[in-house]
Symmetry: C2
Subunit: 236 residues, 2 copies
């Protein structure tokens, strides 16, 4: 077998793994939007679909890991190719976690439909979810196109998601203080908001992987800090 | 260079990486306990130490990944050795996440010391943290000793942590309903409890990696389900 032959098989294997990642990405993007939609429309059927759909996402991640391990063992890639394979595995892990958060969100929808709605909250959460979904789409585009500038842009947009989260956190607190009967619903909504904020962190991590893959360096920690509620909310 | 020579260098490299993982494990264990202790004693200085200490944990994870990538590229290990290297990287990622949760906990301590304490909560949280720290210690022992039975034992113990979390969740809700002035503190405490519960999930993941490493199979999902608040708390 000639060297060229080996190189070609490696490329084909890598492309197959990337196709799995893209498929995962598509499922995860849909899960984010559908989880938010099921909450807004109090649609238990759609929430159930999201919950069940997470199994396919998990199965794809497992396939990504198996194929990547097989590729590493058989093709013994060079340093650069090795970095690509490891990046793909990390992106797979990030996508799987985002899928988990969407599933958790859909679970809470099943609970929240039984409670009095908190005014305006479902719309605000949908907007947050849409922002994260758009970020994810761009992060995966940045990966496929090996575009570190687009990846950097995604990183910076995570700040907006953090701001949306902080605003919601404060809003839920006032609802709870106004009427203790809102407390349980607000706790669940707060968790959902926090989960979307964490999805944003995982999308940021994907973007950083892309930057590392192309430039060989992890970006400096110049992006604005995530969830501030741990440090600056006590004042109100 | 003889084959035996290559094998020996590989073993030495792997041992060096494992030593880094053990060092990480020690720092993470200490961070968990100190974060809980700083909350219980309202000790801002200790909380600050935990927050700052997370940088060393992150730096160690980076070194684990670099060394593992270097080992993969230079030594081109066989399927079994490859599995070990990938496992080490995953354990490193889990430890890094647990460290993040401890840091987040310590951040909230800085906030909580400014509020009226919620009776009994800090002790309950310390007990949860101690349970997770003991699990982590055993999971890392199971890794070093390649002991799938100990790893399986750790997995099952995660159920107790989940139960502690569920009990605390309900307790915080009653405190909030009793007096709206408790709401902010309880939200932070609730987050801390949730973070410890998530640490437990990461320890479980380490245990599952150990089982996979030794037996070649991921354990069946026979362990009791984690956080139930998303599904069965609405009733109260």
């Amino acid at each position: 077998m000639s060297d060229r032959h080996i190189v070609k098989s490696y490329d084909r294997d890598l492309e197959a793994i990337q196709a799995l990642i893209m498929k995962m990405g598509g499922l995860v993007e849909a899960a984010i939007l559908e989880a938010a939609q099921s909450l807004e429309n109090r649609d238990e059927e759609l929430a159930e679909k999201v919950r069940k759909g997470d199994k396919s996402i998990d199965a794809l991640e497992e396939r990504v890991n198996e194929e990547a391990a097989r590729l590493l063992a058989l093709r013994q890639p060079s340093a650069g190719d090795l970095r690509t394979v490891l990046t793909v595995m990390k992106i797979g892990a990030n996508l799987e976690r985002i899928g988990d958060y969407a599933k958790n969100m859909a679970k809470r929808t099943g609970v929240l439909v039984q409670m009095t709605p908190i005014e305006g909250s479902a719309g605000a959460i949908r907007r947050m979810a849409m922002a994260v979904e758009a970020m994810l789409k761009d992060a995966l585009d940045a990966y496929i196109q090996r575009d570190p500038e687009l990846a950097q842009d995604v990183r910076l947009r995570d700040h907006e998601v953090d701001q949306m989260y902080n605003a919601l956190f404060r809003e839920f607190l006032t609802f709870m203080m106004e009427d203790p009967r809102n407390i349980t619903a607000c706790m669940h909504l707060h968790f959902i908001a926090k989960n979307i904020e964490r999805m944003g962190d995982h999308v940021t991590s994907i973007s950083e992987q892309v930057i590392y893959l192309v430039t060989g360096e992890m970006p400096e920690d110049d992006r604005p800090k995530a969830d501030r509620t741990a440090v600056d909310v006590p004042g109100f």
